[in-house]
Symmetry: C2
Subunit: 293 residues, 2 copies
């Protein structure tokens, strides 16, 4: 079994981006600048945003972190977004989800200028993805595609089974894997909570992409020999023996599948680090597209 080493590949991508940024600097061009907006004090969200800001520093991007109190009004948040849309110094920005319940997430995502929407969550960008047009691909599915590409995994004509139909992973990766191109051209089955006989379906899969969020859900008896497994699940499972009080588990019973899978992502160290690398990639793209205008 070959480990799909997202940590290693994401570092390669970051190195490549850093080289491009160096060249930009050397030419006296403006360097990419990512802003991140976070509302409230959620621990996991702060951790994610912190990683994104550190990743910017690592590749030489400018970054701005905007922390807002969790009782901010929707109107004030919309004004913050309008400010970022109009701020010529910012190439791209993200609004860390989830938002507090009193704020309409859909309204917020619609307010982001599609040209600066490096998360790819604006419907115009999502529609472009589905219609094979140039866009910002959401970072997690983009990271999965890149990992598949860099390990030269054959996808054309293969049966890819996606578990979970979320807007940020399942839905977009099901579209990307079935689009024309390489990677792509897969026959894709999208499964979800209403799917019956899931294991009958996963047993026919050449490639399984699981974004369910149930720890160690996918077991050896559910797959066929030689399957490629991409594990997008990240769940904190309480563990008093661990200094943090929890461990991170994926959707996949990794140990039990090592003998059967041909390629597999570990958790952590698989899709997670790729996500951040692709956010940087999108920010670089945003900079380059603005520069080209």
């Amino acid at each position: 079994m070959t480990v799909l080493d997202g940590k290693k590949v994401s570092n390669e991508i970051k190195d490549e981006i850093a080289v491009v940024v160096q060249k930009m600097k050397a030419k006296g061009e403006g360097i990419p600048h990512l802003a991140a907006v976070i509302v409230g004090e959620d621990g996991a969200s702060l951790t994610y945003v912190g990683s994104k800001v550190r990743a910017c520093a690592r590749v030489g991007f400018d970054s701005t972190l905007i922390r807002l109190a969790d009782d901010i009004t929707e109107q004030a948040l919309l004004e913050t977004i309008a400010g970022l849309n109009n701020n010529d110094a910012i190439d791209g920005f993200i609004v860390q989800l989830p938002l507090p319940k009193h704020i309409d997430t859909q309204k917020i995502l619609l307010a982001v200028d599609p040209k600066k929407d490096v998360d790819g969550f604006h419907p115009e960008n999502f529609g472009k993805l589905a219609l094979d047009m140039e866009t910002f691909i959401p970072a997690t599915p983009f990271g999965i595609m890149e990992l598949i590409k860099r390990y030269n995994i054959e996808t054309s004509g293969k049966h890819t089974v996606v578990i979970g139909r979320s807007h940020i992973v399942g839905r977009p990766i099901s579209i990307l894997m079935s689009r024309k191109g390489n990677p792509g051209d897969s026959t894709v089955t999208l499964t979800h909570s209403r799917t019956k006989n899931l294991s009958e379906i996963t047993k026919t899969a050449d490639i399984i992409i699981s974004a369910l969020g149930i720890p160690e859900f996918l077991t050896s008896d559910m797959v066929k020999e030689g399957v490629v497994i991409i594990d997008v699940g990240i769940t904190r499972v309480p563990d008093l023996d661990h200094p943090k009080g929890y461990v991170i588990k994926g959707d996949v019973a990794y140990q039990g599948l090592m003998a059967k899978a041909s390629y597999m992502t570990p958790v952590p160290g698989g899709v997670g680090p790729m996500t951040i690398a692709m956010l940087l990639q999108n920010t670089l793209l945003a900079r380059q597209r603005r520069g080209a205008l």
Copy 2:
């Protein structure tokens, strides 16, 4: 076997729309107004557009047909579209495809104001469809969903196999059938030209939606007993015994499947008429949304 009678259902929908229009008139409200732009003299395109204009008259909508020469410049067509976007008398409009080769179709579709895009082809509207937001659903997949709904066909947890990944049918219907809701909640497999062992997949389908364009491709040996078949294929097959010189054939070998399918759309008289009814429905929606502003 129950025939999914698109002609009958589309007439019911048109009657319902006509009643709504009558009420609008009685209240002195503006009635829906659809414009259709056609470039060139393609026979099939002229036939389609003619049907759409006639359907407007049938339900009491205003309609405007804009015929442009096939050597029109891209710029002039863009100006026509800008005019329709800014014309307050027009609620929605369509640009009949295909366009001549010297015109960039993508650029044209992007120029349509999403609020007037009753074909649902603008990426913003397509993205909203994929992200479960209110939008204009493209008429053909919308018609399929409506047909399934009005015949009370169970879709939740069923295995739906879609054949063909086009932007106007296969891609959107695969998304709609797998979204939450009724109809919806299907496990969906999207198949296409690169799919291997297609008949192995169609044999496991509870519902097959075929939009391939190969006459009588789907045969009895490729399906299981009780399957629901939606045939979106429309191909003109030369037939010298027929006054028109051709007959219309679907993707499905209809006669041979009558004993095995539980529900099936005929061609013609299935999905085709539903498509026009749903274009009217979208135009009514456009009028109502504008009125509500």
